[in-house]
Amino acid sequence: MKGEISVAACVAALALSASTRAAASDPVVIGIIDDFTGVYADVQGQGGVEAVKMAVADSGGSVLGRKVTVLSADHQNKPDIGASKFREWADQGGLNMLIGGSNTGVNIAMAKVALAKKVPFIPIGPGGSSLTGADCTPYSIHYAYDTTALANGTASVIVKSGGKSWFFITADYAFGTQLQDSATKVINANGGKVLGAVRVPLGTTDFSSFLLQAQASGAQVLGLANAGTDFSNSLKSANEFGITKTMKPAALLAFLSDIHSLTLQTAQGLYLTTAWYWDLNEETRAFAKRFFAIMKKEPTSTQAAYYSATLQYLKAVKAAGTTDADQVMAQLRKTRISDMFTKDGYIRADGLMVHSMYVMQVKTPAESKYPWDYYRVIKVMSGEDAYGSQPDPSCPFVKR
């Protein structure tokens, strides 16, 4: 009996010590909840954490005399893990701001927590435009890109350059269908038309049947409304079946890491839209050089956005003189965002970070002069052209 009592006492003591942990000398806590091990891990993952740490270092490592600490957790693409981690940090970890990476479903779940716990929340990487629509909150800032901007970029450029008829290969889930819908609107508005679409289950490895259907449609453009491995596999098969010779491939979402793993041989000639590219100018190259020294890879657009979002948040805390969520959000909303990520960013009433976007074409192996020399700029779109100038009316927090 004595033994059992002492065990119980130990458990109780441990539990108590765990609960008092959070009450130390209040650092400013930035959290990152992202996919670190799944299919999107190469897009941001550990590189995103390093980018945030770089931004913290560039802000002097502290703000308002308080040290800045960075937490990170893997949501494993499961909404329950992402949301409960966020909730826990907000309740017990003294969390001041959260960056949510990849996977729209997980980020919608986390947005609900942001609203309940009043914590500034910056999703970077999920494409779903509903994050600033039906699922928006007064504490969300959707950074880097959304499906609307991707469709506006790639689709409008291709239609205007003569690619009038399209066939879509669409990933069969919300993100894919949203991409296809936005792109269809753009195509129709510019005088093109969609000849057909096939909705492919997520994680399909063999795309040849669908490509054959695309080819049979006689369309000029092959629209790939998918992402990650789905995107790589579909483009690879399109090459193998010689479909890229008769149809122009258009990626609605592709990252530098995807192009790198596909190689230029396969990806050449592809059109895509991106928020940022490492080789745009001196500033971006300087950032990329520092990043490369740590990660041995060039940064993707969203990794750069991680850096920018952290920098802007810490600036806003400094200007507002507090970490109070409402005051920091108000400060961010009235700031013009200008750093190495973008020069003309601002936060729209629904929480969308509007900034200019780039339409790119992937270089041929012959055009590529040095490692990671992958993109050629086709068009720079203003923020309004990319995202639209009006806030999303379905967002309940937009004041009318």
Binding site: F36, Q76, A174
Partner: protein
């Protein structure tokens, strides 16, 4: 006497846990998965049927409850009951096909049918596809007690868990449970004794499916959403791991196993990244090779022999 002391201590700890400052949402999640593992154990531990598709029941009940509560404004209790009803029916349908086969065949059939359920959840309109159903309110107990506050919800979940735990104990010790054990030990003999083995197995399957559904419904209210990962194959694998690790065929084993796995997932994944699946895989291997009884099973064995030696 000893067992009573252990239970009293665990009960007191569970009641006092939120007061001790343990994080209530985490505790609730843990209880929901413990409930899920107990339901699964009813099948694996006491009937020796390995279902590789139990997430189908867990997840579909979570969807149904979330949908009724968030879209149609049902209360928490009717929502949960509806979720359980759906998983019972689903259990009846899947079970009727699966119990005709044994062992590995049974496992493969449950796995494949669970994939079908996954597909339906992905395609159906009401489930919200890839994004799932989000922002499900917790509602209240018969309009009297609001379940919104974590502490209230915690005691509600704890009460449900305790009731189900006692119910499972009761079932296992009942004549019905005895027949199940007889089937586990020697199915041909049970048949020759005149038992309609398939009926017993089907009943056990449906019961286990319904309780797994209860766990899923509760989880969806606790965390406020139902998503595809609830019905996915990964969740089916996790519940097997929990049961195996804690000790299948013991009562406390699945609870402990669920505690270990949920804690590992929550805290370990941040420390080791991709290695978390290596670690979980290694636990599987270790369990199967040298730890087949699981934690609680091993403790009971050592504890048991010590007692006999003394007397």
């Amino acid at each position: 006497m000893r067992a009573a002391a252990v239970y009293a201590m665990l009960g007191a700890l569970a009641l006092a846990a939120p007061l001790l400052g343990l994080y209530p949402v985490f505790l609730m999640k843990l209880l929901c998965f413990a409930l899920f593992a107990c339901a699964f154990n009813l099948l694996l531990g006491f009937t020796r049927m390995l279902s590789f598709g139990h997430a189908a029941f867990f997840g579909s009940a979570a969807y149904v409850t979330s949908w009724l509560v968030s879209v149609h404004g049902w209360g928490a209790v009717p929502g949960i009951l509806a979720g359980v009803a759906v998983s019972l029916l689903l259990g009846l349908a899947i079970g009727a096909i699966a119990v005709r086969r044994q062992g590995i065949y049974f496992a493969m059939i449950t796995l494949a049918l669970a994939q079908l359920v996954y597909f339906i959840c992905l395609q159906a309109e009401f489930t919200g596809g890839e994004n799932g159903l989000q922002g499900v309110p917790r509602g209240s107990l018969f309009g009297l007690i609001a379940l919104g506050p974590d502490a209230t919800m915690y005691y509600f979940v704890l009460a449900v868990f305790a009731a189900v735990y006692l119910f499972i104990r009761r079932v296992v010790h009942s004549p019905f449970g005895q027949v199940l054990r007889a089937i586990r030990e020697n199915e041909p003999r049970a048949i020759s004794l005149g038992y309609r083995v398939n009926r017993y197995k089907l009943l056990a399957f449906v019961l286990s499916a319904g309780l797994a559904g209860l766990a899923g419904s509760l989880k969806s209210l606790v965390l406020g959403f139902a998503t595809l990962s609830d019905v996915s194959q990964g969740t089916s694998g996790e519940v097997i791991l929990m049961t195996l690790l804690g000790g299948s065929g013991t009562f406390l084993g699945p609870v402990l196993g669920a505690g270990i796995v949920v804690t590992l997932e929550e805290y370990l994944s941040d420390l080791v990244g991709a290695w978390v699946s290596v670690i979980i895989g290694a636990i599987f291997v270790i369990c199967v090779m040298i730890f087949r009884r699981g934690f609680v099973g091993e403790i009971q064995r050592r504890f048991g022999t010590a007692v006999t030696r003394r007397s």
